[in-house]
Symmetry: C2
């Protein structure tokens, strides 16, 4: 097995001695149980594709409470029956929902939510990234989420990193209902503060990222026959207990996360010759894992 790019597994594959210096994965694996926090079942949105793939999203009610309430009501009201993934734009997003539909919203949906593109920084406990961010005065982590912020302006926003999920909208003053969602394939930080980020994909991202790209403008599929049918979108809390997926995240205020962040910024295991001495917000990937 020649010419690999990573370390621990690569070393195992080529049969060499184990690395003496910790990788980010080593740090995550060594974190005590107390450093992991369960994600509430009400914050887990489970999207099953008819093809068999499952995509699990974590919702972020702390950052976009009205949009998240909408998404829960849409799921509980079976709004997404017949929904599809209709847009897959390379190096940008996969987007799903009902697209051109005029279907009415179920009860409990706020048709015109406020622009939840930022929230107050006050009230949030931030673990600072420790390196400059070109998009905001500050960057760091809140409850497992990558966040940009301004102490002076008292605002904070969820950053558009790999797997972030946002709410499609028309031009302002439209803010999007939550009926059309997109997941991000690569950091799109220029969208920060311009759109409501409501969560992130924590499992099954490859069921979106490996889809054929749409050939129309903005990556829309040309023919409806190309649309990727969605079997169901449900809250984990509405699934039978025996079927419910469960996840937990590494507490970003924990000592384990601090070590993980340090090592992400200063890789010094066997593969690396020059540790970067820095890292950008979207290259930290707060750890999430299946529970149990």
């Amino acid at each position: 097995m020649k010419s690999l790019l990573l370390t621990t597994a690569a070393l195992l594959l080529i049969g060499a001695a184990p690395p003496k210096r910790l990788t980010p994965t080593d740090v995550v694996n060594a974190a005590p149980a107390s450093a992991w926090k369960a994600i509430p079942a009400d914050d887990l949105l489970v999207m099953d594709l008819k093809s068999g793939g499952r995509v699990v999203l974590q919702l972020a009610p702390t950052f976009a409470p009205v949009h998240v309430a909408n998404i829960r009501a849409l799921a509980r009201g079976n709004y997404w029956d017949g929904a599809t993934i209709y847009r897959v734009q390379d190096a940008y997003v996969a987007q799903w929902g009902l697209n051109d539909s005029d279907k009415g919203f179920p009860a409990g949906v706020t048709a015109k939510p406020p622009a939840e593109y930022t929230r107050a920084l006050k009230g949030l406990s931030v673990k600072p990234l420790g390196y400059a961010d070109p998009y905001a005065p500050g960057a760091g982590f809140v409850d497992g989420w990558p966040v940009a912020y301004s102490a002076k302006g008292n605002w904070a926003n969820l950053a558009h990193c790999y797997g972030s999920v946002g709410v499609g909208r028309d031009l302002s003053p439209d803010t999007g209902s939550g009926g059309e969602l997109y997941a991000v394939f690569t950091p799109l930080r220029h969208l920060d503060r311009n759109i409501a980020v409501v969560g992130r994909v924590i499992d099954g991202m490859a069921s979106l990222s490996a889809l054929p790209r749409g050939t129309e403008a903005l990556g829309f599929y040309k023919d409806k026959s190309q649309y990727v049918p969605i079997a169901s979108i449900r809250l984990a809390s509405d699934m039978p207990a025996s079927e419910r997926p469960a996840f937990e995240y590494l507490d970003t205020m924990s000592a384990s996360f601090a070590r993980y962040l340090t090592i992400r910024a200063n890789r010094h295991d066997d593969f690396y010759i020059h540790p970067a001495g820095g890292v950008d917000l979207c290259n930290v990937s707060p750890p999430v894992r299946k529970k149990g």
Copy 2:
């Protein structure tokens, strides 16, 4: 068509008036012919997949001359006959070549190239990004390439941005021959200065990014039956003139590129409410287009 994410095309789709403020694409489209520079046919590596997809790479001899010379010799010597894409790791890379083969190199290949992970900054004309980079003291653009650098240390490196192509290697002191290459799905800046970047995908990236992800460690395909067969890897300069693809890039020292960079950092067209006021190196995407 509801809930879009971009502007110019979206506005056309919904039939609204054209935007009054320029988008990055508007600036690129308005660049004069004199701002575009042809990419030499000797710097274009054309990879045709048996499935019909074509991936075109631009090589970077200014940054990794020995590795690039190797790649040219490998192509001319038909080294890659029977090559496949054997690794597709989500949020990381697609990697191709002969993998476990013990095939000898054709004439002209340096089996152990120097570690071309950086080169001297001196001699390069840099257009600075203008915003802090967490990975290096400086960041900017050289001849259309995203580059990180240190004036004090007199080094510069090609950055691992979306589409960047690097040389797979084993642990140091191995530097990789160029026989195994990878293309990057999302910025992997922590690899900068740890591996030879030899070019970037300038066309057909979706033929790599939409491939099924490998399920083994590091995204290797489990079974050889999953390997994606490559029909040929050729230099454009070795193709019949009538079949040769031709590309050009926007001169990163041009006034048009300066405007493009400013607008990438300060989007203010109809979709955007809060221009970021900054941008990171990998989010600038120096423009490349088919010629003619």
